[in-house]
């Protein structure tokens, strides 16, 4: 019927395929080309996601809807960022600046600490881990993007435009939008810029109305 590629190793190659891939580690779909391959990526994938995919097939007798990369939409169609419980802090510009600072203790957004949530598709921010107990961001470390193809080679896990100076709120979001076009997460940057500009525009309109 189909082959399920469990995890980042089978789906993409994962750690042994990171540059320079000394052993030519190869994902399943480059080896088996005559069967449908369902990719369930992650390093590792969430256990309940794995069992969810299998039991979907046994319960409904059909293969799950897949996205363009071959991942089940049911668990991989939204980014960590789309459902992250710290998203309001991202939107409000409340970021952890340094490990264990006051913002960290309040559970602020980890974007500046390298979080790859905005570019990572997985179910971690909803299903969470080990029976829903927690997930990386909730325990204080940014998402490292472990379900994405080639995540080991997308720069340091701690690099996320943290070289932008004078990190305020709206101003920096604009700077991100303008400066980050060529860097990882251009779509994210544009989004962040748009959100910030929208807020700024609203504020200006409100201010204008008051006058």
């Amino acid at each position: 019927m189909a082959i399920i590629a469990w995890g980042a190793c089978a789906s993409w190659g994962c750690v042994q395929a990171a540059k320079p891939n000394p052993t030519q580690a190869t994902p399943i779909d480059k080896v088996i080309t005559n069967k449908p391959i369902i990719k369930v990526p992650g390093c590792p994938p969430i256990a309940e996601v794995m069992t969810g995919v299998v039991t979907f097939i046994t319960t409904f007798g059909k293969l799950p809807e897949l996205d363009r990369q071959g991942r089940p939409k049911m668990f991989y169609s939204q980014r960590i960022h789309d459902k992250c419980y710290r998203r309001p802090h991202f939107d409000a510009g409340q970021f952890v600046e340094e490990w264990d600072d006051e913002s960290a203790r309040k559970g602020y957004c980890l974007y500046k600490m390298g979080c790859k949530g905005p570019t990572t598709y997985n179910a971690c921010s909803t299903v969470r881990w080990n029976g829903g107990v927690s997930f990386p961001i909730q325990s204080g470390h940014g998402c490292i993007g472990c379900s994405e193809d080639g995540f080991w080679d997308k720069g340091s896990f701690y690099d996320r435009l943290t070289t932008v100076k004078q990190f305020g709120i709206e101003k920096n979001a604009d700077q991100i939008g303008m400066a980050a076009a060529g860097v990882v997460g251009a779509a994210v940057a544009a989004h962040a810029a748009v959100t910030a500009v929208k807020r700024l525009t609203t504020k200006r309109e409100d201010a204008a109305q008051d006058n």
Binding site: K19, R105, K106, N130, G131, P136, S139
Partner: protein, 596 residues
Amino acid sequence: MGIQTPNGFNLDNSGKRIVVDPLTRIEGHLRVEVNVDSNNVIRNAVSTGTMWRGIETILRGRDPRDAWAFTERICGVCTGTHALTSVRAVENALRISIPDNANSIRNIMQLCLQVHDHLVHFYHLHALDWVDVVSALKADPKATSALAQSVSSWPMSSPGYFKDLQIRLTKFVESGQLGPFKNGYWGHAAYKLPPEANLMAVAHYLEALDFQKDIVKIHTIYGGKNPHPNWLVGGVPCAINVDGTGAVGAINMERLNLVSSIIDRCIEFTEQVYLPDIAAIGSFYKDWLYGGGLSGKSVMAYGDIPENANDYSAKNLKLPRGVILNGNLNEVLPIDHGDPEQIQEFVAHSWYKYPDETKGLHPWDGVTEPNYQLGPNAKGTKTDIKELDEGGKYSWIKAPRWRGNAVEVGPLARYIVGYAQGKPEFKEPTEKLLRTLDLPVTALFSTLGRTAARALECQWAAHQMRYFQDKLLGRIKAGDTATANVDKWKPESWPTEAKGYGFTEAPRGALAHWIRIKDTKIDNYQCVVPTTWNGSPRDPKGNIGAFEASLMDTPMADPEKPLEILRTIHSFDPSLACSTQVMSPDGQEMATVKVR
């Protein structure tokens, strides 16, 4: 006739050759070959690591603060231990100190791993070498209940409970789809337990399978997920906030309570299920004292679990540290990971090449160039090996040696060192178990001893989790909630060149990473892993490694069903993915494997 090895074994490869490949119910890929004499007693042994991945090559040129994430993926079973070793290596190289709370949390993470790994190893990887699942179908549930209640106060022990389980098990076996129990050597003469003990053990196998998924939640709380929780150079990533605004977004009282309750359950399960099972099973196997190998001769432990942060000297480490050579328990020798004369890796019998293979190399100067060549007496081809030639190169595992000595590492090594040092927390439980089984101390040097030491260490680790959780709470109470030191977080603050090492005691034994940093990037990274030590092939002098030594002189009831080999090799809890790491300094292409 035969070859006498410098470390005291007489190898005779004239008899029938038996090949076990792959050896299952381990982590990774292992092949074992032995020769048995006319009485089916093992007289020669060959242990081979059959895979490698190149993690060290991959690390070159990367940010040292990321290294823990790469090395953590060396193994998903001992998840966390390589990450801890890595952050220690970087902190050692860059002289970074961590706060005391980070030390406590890291200890809890590592101890949690010990508890989880030892429990899962005994029940789900090892037990089926001692327990005959099919025999459990013949047990009398009432007698099983009586047995269970005589060894423990664990409440899941009624006749009805065992009867229901037996019915489930019968249906399962009759279905023909045996799942994890398929291809077992059921009915083998080497199984010694009565049906009731088998049924009790199967019940506990299933209970442990259910419980183990809760143990790892400690990793999830402090590290975000399991397998592969997150770590941090300079501390731990989870901030603490018990009383202030936004505490729900940090390690707060609800999180701490969850960790505490799991710790309590770990202590309970280990003491009421695991340890009584070891004593019960041990009592039926107390005459089967094979498998000692190197354990009665040369053992090594690096020590781990620092009481206070940033002090990795022997006196501050709660797990024992030191080397014992030639069975001399009166002398525990000190270890220095930076001394080029102590830890060295040899490749004379491994699939690598050195400029001079008579010499070993310290990991800071490690050279790893693959050289996949079979010896002249090997049978078969490079892609279909029928028999290896142990006179030539025969493993992807290098041969690490301590001052030229092959040593055994692991829970038994730690307990032997602790015992020799007279430490009551290790000596007393060991002596108590020996008294229960009415065995002398020399019985420790065996497969059974290795298995028992693992259980004792599991109990020790569970209690130490409680100790460090209480310590953490004590510091929070005193007003200290620091979890990370960011003084040297930025690469601009680092020297141009630095080198360091980090070490831990992984569940399977002594583990260390060596790092060289140049211009803020990793210049060289080497891992020498417990199973590298234990699964080691011969060195240039012909010393055999721990796996090989442990099989010597073991009689096999049926060479076609090598249960005894499995039982002994499993007692080491092999982790092969960990043991075969390859670095090619110039990134050149290595052997290709054709996938058909």
